[in-house]
């Protein structure tokens, strides 16, 4: 047998050995045979079940602990204070709000049939009236032209420019976003605004308001300046009780 033949033969034998080894491993029986009888098996099952029970008990006790911590955290004064602070901030207009509501767009009347000059701004009186009307109809959060309207917001004429908190509102159209408590109030507000008098009042100033009610919740930005309280004082408890 020459060396080449030998080599191929060896190669084949290596492959065969490999195959046999794998086959042997595949069909090899488990090395330890199970020789337990019924009673031993029962005892073992019992042991395993006890272990399971123990583990379950441990899980439930841990979950209980988690729930306890959770309630403790909720009931703690800090949490209550935090929640109150959040609520107050939201009411004061210091946080961004998202919810159902309507969008009112104030735009100039473009038709040429009208006499006089085209409107280029909204008078502060009209805007105030609109805000008052919205507040009358259960509006909760209002923004005008992207500026949040809060209790101390001023809308006034400075140098013949309508300003809201010092920001000019000289670019029409102006978007007024209004958020209400829920979808039903939004619907109500929408219907009221459709028939309100303000449309006519705006029309006198060559302006037109368009009321729309988007299906998705709208977002109103937060009031981004520091609130300066100058003329307010906390009510003293004893005095408050009397009144």
């Amino acid at each position: 047998m020459d060396s080449k033949k030998k080599l191929s033969f060896t190669f084949i034998t290596v492959v065969i050995g490999f195959m046999i080894a794998i086959q042997f491993q595949t069909v090899k029986e488990p090395s330890v045979r199970d020789t337990r009888d019924t009673w031993q098996l029962r005892a073992d099952i019992l042991k395993e079940k006890e272990l399971q029970l123990k583990l379950l008990r441990e899980i439930s006790s841990n979950e209980e602990k988690i729930a306890q911590y959770e309630t403790k955290r909720k009931q703690s004064k800090e949490q209550v204070l935090r929640e109150t602070l959040e609520e107050l901030k939201m009411e004061a207009g210091l946080s961004e709000v998202t919810g159902p509501g309507i969008i009112i767009t104030i735009e100039p009347v473009n038709e040429e049939l009208l006499l006089g000059k085209q409107a280029d701004s909204v008078s502060p009186d009209l805007l105030k009236r609109l805000v008052n009307e919205l507040n009358m109809y259960d509006a909760q959060h209002i923004s005008i032209g992207g500026r949040r309207v809060i209790n101390t917001t001023v809308i006034r004429d400075i140098n013949r420019e309508t300003m809201i908190d010092g920001y000019a509102l000289n670019r029409l159209p102006i978007e007024v976003k209004v958020i209400t408590e829920n979808a039903q109030t939004a619907e109500k507000l929408f219907n009221r605004m459709q028939v309100s008098n303000s449309a006519e009042e705006f029309f006198i100033d060559n302006l037109r308001i368009k009321v729309e009610k988007p299906a998705e919740p709208i977002t109103i930005p937060a009031y981004d300046e520091a609130l300066r309280v100058r003329y307010m004082e906390p009510v003293k408890p004893e005095e408050g009780g009397k009144s």
């Binding site: 047998m1 080449k4 033949k5 030998k6 191929s8 033969f9 060896t10 190669f11 084949i12 034998t13 290596v14 492959v15 065969i16 050995g17 490999f18 195959m19 046999i20 080894a21 794998i22 086959q23 042997f24 491993q25 595949t26 069909v27």
Partner: protein, 122 residues
């Protein structure tokens, strides 16, 4: 002569060390392939002893037999007939025949050798 045996041992060690396991549903194919390989191996040894060994026939026979056996088993599984038994039978019979021939040849050689040595002694 010892090189093939060494190869076999190396193959076995490799197989045991790699810890490869064939899934249960394929172990049938592997077993029949092993049988076909063994058949070819003994056929090769016999041919070598009879001086009609041909490398090409041997190597091609090795792979071809394995493939044939495995495909036969595959076909059997899909037809619902245990066709691999046919392969087992064929390879088993040939294995026995080959081993018998090898045994006879070795015995013949051995007795010849003994006669020679006896003659030389005399």
């Amino acid at each position: 002569m010892w090189l093939p045996v060494l190869g076999l041992i190396i193959g076995v060690i490799l197989g045991l060390m790699t810890d490869i396991k064939v899934p249960d549903e394929y172990s049938n194919y592997l077993s029949i392939a092993v049988l076909a390989a063994l058949d070819t191996l003994f056929g090769g040894i016999r041919a070598q002893l009879q001086n009609i060994y041909d490398e090409k026939v041997f190597v091609s026979g090795f792979f071809f037999n394995i493939l044939l056996a495995a495909s036969l088993a595959f076909l059997g599984v899909h037809l619902g007939v245990d066709l691999y038994l046919a392969a087992v039978f064929a390879f088993g019979v040939r294995l026995f025949q080959n081993i018998a021939v090898i045994r006879r040849i070795i015995i013949a050689k051995w007795s010849q050798n003994r006669e020679k040595t006896e003659k030389n002694d005399i």
